[in-house]
């Protein structure tokens, strides 16, 4: 066909563009994913008793999850747009991970040596990353589904970032049910679960996000 015919077809009576499309494609999957994560966590594991929410550990988990999620939203908003520079925003998720690692390390150093193994492994280290991964899956599915409307040009990186975001949502839901109070535990095993979700996203991205 002649290109000018195609152009005329595309331009005739074309609908105006929704300037908030990218925002919307992040907002509803995050809302839905968070709801699913919290509900599943409550139903499958069980919410902590009210007293637990006075402890700083729960709030550190919340802040970690929210900070990571927000920094990844900023990154993904760029990744979904062809040609948008990601360098300026990549530092925020990295910084969040670094700060959490330092907090975990400091917590360990302030723990007497005899208790350090308990502080690192807790009682649930084996299960925690898998719970975080499991709780992240609804968010991951919703985010990837919404991203198909958009135009990510680096599918592995976008998949990875989407997975990490879903992982942060999973971690937030898990925070309602996780009995561990060690910040070192959070830094290691929550992060492990989030990275697992990232790896799932990275594997699935090049298949699901193609356009």
């Amino acid at each position: 066909m002649k290109t000018s015919n195609l152009i005329h077809l595309l331009a005739t009576n074309s609908e105006p563009v929704d300037p908030r499309a990218v925002t919307k494609s992040l907002a509803w999957p995050l809302g839905l994913g968070l709801l699913a994560s919290v509900l599943l966590s409550a139903l499958a594991i069980g919410v902590l008793p009210a007293e637990a929410f006075v402890l700083p550990a729960v709030w550190v988990k919340f802040v970690y999850g929210v900070a990571l999620a927000l920094s990844l939203v900023a990154l993904l908003s760029r990744l979904y747009r062809p040609g948008a520079p990601t360098q300026p925003v990549i530092k925020w998720p990295l910084l969040t991970l670094l700060v959490m690692t330092l907090i975990g390390f400091a917590y360990l150093m302030f723990t007497p040596e005899s208790q350090r193994a308990a502080v690192i492994f807790g009682r649930t280290w084996l299960a925690c990353p898998w719970f975080v991964l499991g709780l992240s899956l609804p968010a991951l599915a919703a985010l990837l589904w919404a991203a198909r409307q958009l135009a990510p040009t680096d599918l592995k990186t976008t998949g990875f970032a989407t997975g990490l975001l879903a992982g942060a949502i999973g971690a937030l839901g898990y925070s309602f049910a996780c009995p561990e109070t060690s910040l070192t535990f959070v830094a290691i095993w929550y992060t492990a679960g989030i990275v697992l979700a990232g790896l799932v996203g990275r594997a699935v991205g090049p298949v699901v996000l193609r356009w």
Partner: protein, 185 residues
């Protein structure tokens, strides 16, 4: 003119047209797409020197993508950068599809005479638009024919076809997506 001056002059011409276009000015949109097509033609011609017959098909495939993914444009950045990023993505996709069939390894002596001649710059190799439209599901075909070939508004097309206005809009979008898949080589 320096190459960078030319690029800036091009962007200065394109951006106001594009901003009008995404605001709903379809005349500006048509002009913007013509400019974008010429820019893409140059971009692909340089990178597909061994396969000049593929250039216009890629231009058309990229134009469809530019249309379907308009919502990903951010006015804070140059339109050209956004367009070329889409073009690069489609080019990489093109290489991926053609690697398997060994299209890249033709010896120049074995290339047919018709492939050595550059086709009309404006003409893709196959895919007559009318023929492609006929292959679409009825709802998609009708929506596109009424709004884009006959120039009806969505409301007029809804009256004419008996479909709801939102069904018309959804089917135009789906129809263009289907067309986009069909024109991929």
């Amino acid at each position: 003119m320096q190459p960078s001056d030319w690029a800036q002059a091009f962007e200065d011409k394109l951006k106001p047209l594009w901003l009008s276009a995404i605001g709903g000015d379809n005349t500006a949109y048509e002009q913007a797409l013509e400019l974008i097509a010429s820019r893409l033609r140059g971009y692909f011609a340089r990178r597909l020197q061994a396969m000049p017959s593929e250039v216009e098909d890629l231009v058309q495939e990229t134009l469809m993508a530019v249309h379907l993914k308009r919502a990903t444009f951010d006015p804070a950045y140059p339109v050209t950068a956004w367009v070329l990023a889409i073009g690069k993505y489609k080019l990489v996709d093109f290489w991926r599809r053609h690697e398997r069939t060994g299209d890249l390894h033709d010896d120049i002596d074995q290339v047919g005479a018709n492939e050595l001649v550059a086709s009309e710059p404006d003409e893709g190799t196959d895919h007559d638009l009318a023929v492609l439209l006929q292959t679409l599901p009825l709802a998609q075909r009708t929506s596109i024919e009424l709004t884009k070939l006959q120039g009806m508004t969505a409301v007029e097309a809804a009256k004419e076809s008996g479909m709801s206005v939102s069904a018309i809009k959804v089917n135009v979008h789906r129809g263009l997506k289907s067309l986009s898949k069909l024109i991929k080589q």
